[in-house]
């Protein structure tokens, strides 16, 4: 299912629920009413969209620091012929949460997330030792916006 196959009701559901599911007894009631449909129809469509891979499951996004953990963004300049190898090494590490290849000299960008802050330095040292490449550690100093709402 590509985005072209979403009908207007699917789009309205995705657009509304990206912003969050209200923590109330019947979180889909208001949305269903505004779409002139039933809560059962809303959850059935959601199940279909999740099955089709258009959207992921509902899950909370947690603040690592408030839970006592730590997160940072890292960048590495990887020689073109080593991209696959370095990506595979990173994928094997449980601390690596996301990894994107980007068009820049620093071409590999990944998120490290750990349970205790002191584990960040250990993970970075391990990656540097395993790959022989220097890691840029770019922790968040200030957050101005955290919103992943996309128009659909």
């Amino acid at each position: 299912m590509r985005s072209g196959h979403l009908d207007p009701i699917d789009r309205a559901i995705v657009a509304a629920l990206q912003r969050g599911v209200p923590t109330v007894e019947r979180p889909f009631a208001e949305l269903a009413a505004s779409l002139e449909t039933t809560e059962e129809a809303v959850v059935a469509r959601l199940a279909r969209l999740i099955d089709a891979g258009v959207v992921g499951r509902f899950a909370p996004m947690l603040d690592a620091e408030k839970l006592g953990g730590a997160v940072t963004l890292c960048a590495v300049a990887v020689p073109a012929d080593r991209l696959e190898e370095v990506a595979a090494r990173l994928a094997a590490l449980p601390e690596v949460a996301h990894n994107y290849e980007r068009a820049h000299r620093f071409n590999m960008w990944f998120v490290l997330a750990v349970e205790r802050p002191e584990q960040l330095a250990t993970a970075i040292a391990r990656i540097e030792a395993e790959t022989g490449l220097a890691v840029l550690d770019l922790p968040k100093l200030e957050e101005y916006r955290l919103e992943l709402v996309l128009p659909v």
Partner: protein, 169 residues
Amino acid sequence: MALSPDDRALLAALEAGLPLVPRPFAALGERLGLAEHAVLVRLAALRAAGVINRAGLIVRHRELGYRANAMVVLDVPDAELEAAGRRLAREPAVSLCYARPRRPPLWPYNLFFMVHGPERLATLRAVHAVLMRAGLESVPRAVLFSRRRFVQRAARYAPADAGPVEAAA
């Protein structure tokens, strides 16, 4: 914030996905041996404490037709950083905006933001429009488009018994 065993069980259960029924918090509570009301109260507390940043659908950008994802990095004078970040945060096209440290001489940029678009050219136009409105068009910058996504999975910084959760870096 210290999590109670009930909080951990709740977060772990939520991580598997909200039950797709009209009363999902009641279903969640049934699974955990908690009343619907208790589930709602704990979730509200976790949100108020900032432990839960957001609890919405996780949208798959590419599957929704957003194939271009630009990370824009700027070298803003320190005295102007906060104001620049606040201006960017007001832009609807900007999804994330963070201050991060420079690492001279390798990395001169201290302000990061993300823009998603259907393809590169349209995304680049959106980036330029944002920079113009924010008065940042003459600040040194780089635009890093994503090429491949190697790993996109839930982070595992949470206590082991709470299971993996999504992280915002």
